[in-house]
Symmetry: D2
Subunit: 476 residues, 4 copies
């Protein structure tokens, strides 16, 4: 049985990578690219390659270095795409690994998807009515069937055609025998950027993957843009307009790596600003600022800089946390936090601390950390969260808890503080969050998880009652 | 690198099994059923199960006991189907394992296939033109797409509809949420039989699998018949007529297990008769009759009984032959036969022997065995083959060599004898073969591999030139 | 959980192999040699090699092809030894795998052992008293410590010295940096033979392993002989005399491969004679002679030849029986025999049969087979066993049941017949057995399992009460 | 092929853990304890347990969660010991995993060792002369043989006896059927501490492991002390005096986890002080202080606090760095640093930075990091090392490079600065280091790697010439 060490965080569902380069080992570059995107998905990985005629894919459950422990797709190739994914555990879900690779009337096509279609169920039902079958439960299979059905001539037109009716979040890398295609949905929910590697081109969810393979960042793919790369170079086209850009604000808060730059905004600088703003908003006095490592550290540094309260490492993280076997009996004793984090007694003993974390989902882990600090001698724990309270699920590619599990959906801030046992609790205000992501206009961000303002239709399949409530909430 | 220990035999491509039983552990019964059918395919295995609403499948590369070493599909279930398969090695071919499991407009459906569609390529192209995609290269995916496209109401009608235009060999087990369906193509190329297990029902490629799970043999599924099993019992329907039954004669010669009974003919008795007929036809005099174990043994016993020459075990087989690692350098020394077989010197030394084998494909192994016997002191080796010379490939579900690799396609019997170094060589005559399979009228057997009389259209994709020759040969 | 498919047979505990050859890939030859000896042990395997200075060993749990699936010991080498072993399952017993490899004052030495020391416990205790430690529970560790303690000069003298006080069964292959040594205990319990491979030399438990690697049989190692092989050739010495040669008679009955020749006696011919003698002794009349495959087949052929009753394959064996996963619930239903064997109805229906098997241990499997044949329509089953009743455990290297589990220890033949449900039951007489192994004087065989005449001291550690009884039995 | 991601750091060779507790699952606690000590060894792991009569051990290559992925030693037990180890890769080295488990005249004993005996070779040769054999190449096997040879009565006396002549570094946990024993060598090279868990006791290399299992820190084991724990409680004894305590100073600089307290000195506070001292000593002016994560971070925070220069995260570390497959071709391109670290451009662009790291071994990685920062726009990189130049190998349990690979052994500071391309380079002075580890008198630390003042004899086996030089250097 696997113990989920990140169990009290929302999870990015996928990272994608693509490369077109005649002078490179494209499979190996994709391997390193996925390695750099591993934080976006740790449950499965896959790489598809082509040499212009044959296409092959290798996929498996596990981390990138586990799936490709013995070998990479072994053929000469000049195009490759890759995918990392988080998914609920289950050996049968091997068939849900990406990239998808299919043959259709136009030849072979491989596709990797980051995001979540909000009308996938309807589209799928529609396609099934037309006689299509589905072997997986991933949205990409819907898109690939739509591409195959399209009566357009070029593959780019087919892709655009396929996206006409789908809604929701999708950043895609698509590979044909001779092209690498990148697509970002009209809202721009999930990131996608492009880089140059020698004479070739790279697409990646985050710029940190470009850095890792030594590619130079060129630009972000625009919402509603499709880029097509082949030997003649890069061709771009806008396939849809949108009245509402809606880049996921949580990429800046938690999902993305701090060394990435998304849509012109440095993730690191955004987090630093969030910490500074938190300091101004909360005004807590304390001996030290500490963070819940690693995701809270940058904001904690910002808090320290703004407040003048010294930053210290009050909590140490076990660097070897992985997928860990645990026995049922042990679950009762709930060692979860202790094996992952340890309080540094010599730092916190006799000290009042401001503790910065990025978010609170269910609040159970936060409570344990506060208790751990108190047991180590902290005289007061003032908790600062570098995001507003999360009150609503995400439907655009994040693995979120059900609404009833979100502590902020049913409890007021003071109740939450009491629940986790902190001496104080401050959430970053929504305005403060906007201000911290200064390079991006606030109306172009998606903040639905904070304010229920869903920029696109949300699905009505699984929890209609809940959604009904949400819609009412939204429209009240 | 794997060394193929059976490299000089044709290979059955698949075995299938299905069970509907409310009082049984259906996954476990399917496991044992596949175990009994393992000789029909050793490269991959899979089991799909359903409890009436959820459907799950577990598939992998390897033998049944390897794929399911750690677990069987773990859910309560009352229907299951399973599949074993031979295929060319290659990790990427994980996606070609069966049973296929898809969702479509009618719900979920799982399918396992034994046989080969001769117009799969055309059907697939046709479906691709209509917008379908294919994730595997197996024929079953064609059938399942046709089922999904059908506008018929019931699943049985859909299945029948899907088979209207497909040609070639197919024995199928199909599972829906509440039915187990068995289908056999109008020619009846590959076997399929039905048994009773308590209150439930079992379908299997061969009756030996019924014996293994303790089911009672009920009857063979008829060519052109579809049976549908649910809580109300078994319903049967004839979905196609045929002017030409064409059960594979090689099942009796080599593929099937001797303890199976196919279409009313005991495989054991057929082989025994082949041996008796061989004795009469060849009239060889010798001190001993020996066999190439294990497949030649039953015919050798028949030869011994008819000729009065005592049977002895002149060759011993290593019972632990499995998938064996071999180093490239070793291939040169060609230890293949020696690690699999060893001559029993005390038996053959100073003796003339009749050696019975079931077939000769390329002839290389036969030559090595003859040499091994001579080195052990055999004074003469009279080789008897319990089938006519194989001159033509099979297109109905057997992994055959290309025609140019078939020694009998280019050499006369005397040339073959010389090539393998035997003192005499006799092939069973076609008439002798017919006579040996006494329960089955000769016109209802497929003997195309011996006489080029293909009972159904053969594909024209891969080796048209060769096929052209065949067609001419056929019509001359 | 593993289901033991051979659960009602005694088990040979080990096979050993050694090679000294400058022109060969010695690791690969050892691999193939162990492959041929796999029937002597399926639970673990190991190969040790040396290039004259460095020594390396690779060992693991499983069949030879599993342990060396990915690689053989990877270094240039001209000496190698190998070992296959049966042992009670248990992951912790990885440390009990052989060959053992140690460094001592004389350099490095590696050792593989077939047999069982009857005073291992005492020797071990003695060594422990002198300050030695033991990391395994295998006898070889006792021997290697004795070698290390010896004050003699040469390694051969050290080996001889080490064997002065040990009692029981041991065939050994020993490797130093520049020598390959073979040893057989003074009683000659377990076999060991020598062959020539090009300019090099091979040692093996059975001659079938020589055949497999293409070596020519030279001779058996004599009881009480030590051979030492290096670049100068083979040197031999007799290190002990014995008043009692005692080669295991069960090697001829069941353990060895029929294509092996041991101490000048062909195993095949011995089994054939046992069958002939059985026919004469039993005088059963029946329609057919059948065997329990594969071990009973040769004797059944002998029975058929002598009696004139035709031999037929009345039982088919699943050729893919391996280590098989089975669920606890299934054990209750006891599918054991059915998944391994199946009656050929068309053969046995309406027929009276003589069924030949090599031995009966607990009798449970025999009962199931008789029932299976009756259910398939056999009108009578006359059981013939090609060995006398087994009444006493073996202490010389065979994994035997405790005495209380031996059906013949507590039941008379007629009671056993009734227990297994056979119509008749005949065991080969001891004199008949001796007569069948014609090349070997009866007084040089060990038959203790039949008549309690233990040729060497037996251990008194585990079941003294039982042994006391045995000794009394022996001396009454 | 594995790419060693820490290739330019010295490595602690082992971590050890022991527990005696009747109310706990001791195997599971040991598992978690080793998890917390994983930074001390990532190549193999093992756990031995006993229930008072039976003793069992499970060992394997890999991380703790890999070795025990499927199961922990599965038996009721109240004592357990565990070990993690770094070692040169090699499948054959499975036999070198710890804990060692042996039987000897006194019963069974299991032992795990952190440290390195400097006269192991001599002791081993001595034992071999007395007839002992060695199955591994680990020092623990020497100790266990000495224990077995001892003529003393109690196990504690035997252990003490065994240590009389061994020299070098050893912290040991030893388990008998009913005792848990902890030993620390007279110099106290490697740490070992004791904690209380309910009614039971825990021993561990570092206090962070006590925290992880919820044990309360009691005290450090003293150099030259042996503690023996059984149902009657803890008994302690001083088995040797020393005129020279010599705790490894590098534990404070790099090896130990910052949340551990060793010999009364918080590792975190020591590192913080090193940073503060570095700031005073170097006096560098810059826009930012950054660290090479994670080991340089605490010292960088100290530097920032003392200097007033703000701390920032200028380098991001990939949190999923593990054992990584790499293709030979890739080594040429030397992606090593890029896949592990990435510069945060938005932080360092246009800024001068002080970069704090803990040590420089060969200097190759440092050079790449400096180049990476410059490419990201840093205007100046002033490198500060929180230790003096490493000029001499360690012989007391650290996997160090040969002296010729140590850049500081052959280059002056200015030459090193030039080699790595930094604008400035400052190493912490030895006095500054002493001052930073304020709780521990400087004469009780081992600083041999900095000043060649080896507190105990060093081995003369492998590189005598080099050592000769060292001794001369030492005595000049």
């Amino acid at each position: 049985m696997l113990y989920d060490i990140h169990s009290d965080k929302w999870r990015e569902e996928c990272g994608i990578f693509g490369i077109f380069a005649r002078q490179e080992n494209v499979a190996l570059n994709t391997y390193w690219g996925l390695y750099a995107l591993q934080h976006r998905g740790q449950e499965s990985a896959g790489i598809a390659v082509t040499d212009g005629s044959v296409m092959d894919v290798q996929r498996g459950m596990g981390l990138v270095n586990e799936v490709f422990r013995h070998a990479l797709p072994d053929m000469p190739a000049h195009i490759a795409i890759g995918h990392v994914r988080y998914s609920t555990t289950g050996s049968s879900l091997l068939r849900n690994t990406q990239p998808l690779l299919v043959s259709y009337s136009g030849g072979q096509i491989s596709l990797a998807h980051n995001g979540n279609l909000t009308n996938a169920h309807e589209m799928r039902t529609e396609l099934e009515k037309k006689g299509h079958v589905f072997q997986t439960s991933i949205d990409s299979e819907v898109i690939v069937n739509l591409i195959a059905r399209s009566t357009k001539q070029t593959v780019e037109e087919r892709v655009i055609d396929s996206l006409t009716d789908v809604q929701g979040a999708y950043s895609l890398v698509i590979m044909t025998e001779n092209k690498l295609i990148g697509v970002r949905d009209p809202h721009g929910f999930r990131p996608l950027c492009m880089g140059r590697l020698g004479d070739g081109w790279v697409l990646a969810s985050e710029s940190c993957a470009l850095d890792t393979v030594g590619a130079e960042f060129v630009r972000d793919i625009e919402p509603g843009e499709i880029v097509s790369i082949d030997d003649k170079g890069v061709e771009t086209r806008r396939f849809a307009e949108t009245d509402r850009r809606a880049a996921c604000v949580f990429e800046y808060i938690y999902f993305a790596r701090p060394d990435s730059v998304i849509d012109g905004q440095s993730v690191y600088q955004a987090r630093l600003s969030m910490g500074r703003t938190l300091a101004r908003e909360s005004g807590f006095k304390a001996d030290l600022v500490i963070s819940v490592p690693d995701s809270g550290t940058t904001a904690a540094l910002g808090y320290s800089q703004e407040s003048g309260i010294p930053f210290a490492e009050g909590l140490m993280k076990n660097r070897y946390i992985g997928r860990t076997f645990i026995q049922p009996e042990q679950k009762k004793r709930d060692m979860g936090v202790r094996i992952k984090l340890n309080a540094v007694t010599s730092v916190v003993k006799g000290k009042s601390v401001v503790m910065v974390d990025d978010s609170i989902v269910r609040g159970t882990t936060s409570g344990k950390i506060v208790r751990m600090l108190k047991e180590a001698g902290a005289t007061a724990v003032h908790m600062c969260i570098s995001s507003p309270p999360i009150g609503y699920p995400c439907y655009y590619g994040i693995d979120t808890s059900a609404r009833k599990e979100l502590i902020a959906a049913s409890k007021q801030v003071e109740e939450i503080r009491e629940y986790i046992g902190a001496d104080s609790l401050h959430y970053l205000s929504l305005e403060g969050l906007y201000a911290s992501i200064g390079n991006i206009p606030k109306q172009t961000l998606c903040n639905a998880c904070f304010n229920c303002d869903y920029p696109a239709e949300i699905p009505c399949e699984t929890d209609c009652a809940n959604n009904k409530f949400l819609f009412e909430a939204k429209n009240k």
